[in-house]
Symmetry: C2
Amino acid sequence: MSNLKYSRQRKAIVDFLESRTDHPTADIVYINMRKEFPKISLGTVYRNLSLLVEIGEAIKVPCSDGAEHFDGCTLKHYHFQCNRCGAVLDLNITDMDSIQDLNKIANVNFGGNIEGNSIFFYGKCPKCAKELKR
Amino acid sequence: MSNLKYSRQRKAIVDFLESRTDHPTADIVYINMRKEFPKISLGTVYRNLSLLVEIGEAIKVPCSDGAEHFDGCTLKHYHFQCNRCGAVLDLNITDMDSIQDLNKIANVNFGGNIEGNSIFFYGKCPKCAKELKR
DNA sequence: CTTCTTGCAAATAGTTTGCATATAG
DNA sequence: CTATATGCAAACTATTTGCAAGAAG
């Protein structure tokens, strides 16, 4: 591919992604970068985000809400979206074992080769669940 | 909401979705509808697709490839996208049981309320897997 | 110097919407 | 007749790209 050179903007984007537990869209990253780099352009943000996804330092989280969300955490975990407030959260599943062999199970009778999976949970987030109890 | 009236265009879209095992984008639906309705507009296609999603006769399948994909099959099943050719396929998992209680497992320590999940598998589809073996 | 990166602006892709006309009930 | 649906075009949102200037190695 291409040889990477250091850039302050890219560094800041990586740091920002790592500092968040939610999953910002490109636009949110852009708005936050402008605090430190008032002249940064959306193009730069998009270019860096897809570069980070390419080299595996971030992942894309596809949601059904128009925009792509980005996640700086490369460790395997699962995603949740609240169908009331739209928040995208990480999910720490305690009993990972039952998920481990999902790929094998799915591969039975498939004919191709299943390399991975992404699980998306939905429902009410803790905050909304609390508000609805009142 | 709104009271539905019959429309030949909507009927054709439903039939088309049901006839496919892949998961067409709005654009593909549009192109195919034009065979029967040369003057149909993209607006009509989009309006009907989101209407069908609303009333539960279709679902949106979010992919990381720019466009939303639509699925006419309301029965629960899982999705697969080939990371070589981009095809989106259905997956019939024989041993559903291990997936059944995923929601319960995920709900432990969550605090909110998990209502459902969607699992997306990726890898090589049967066709691509075959081509790569040569 | 040479290569990669940026900012800016223009271009593109996917989707939504306003409005006048057509169709279903 | 009244409400919903359609076609068309314009508007909008998210994302990508060409290019000249700037920074890294």
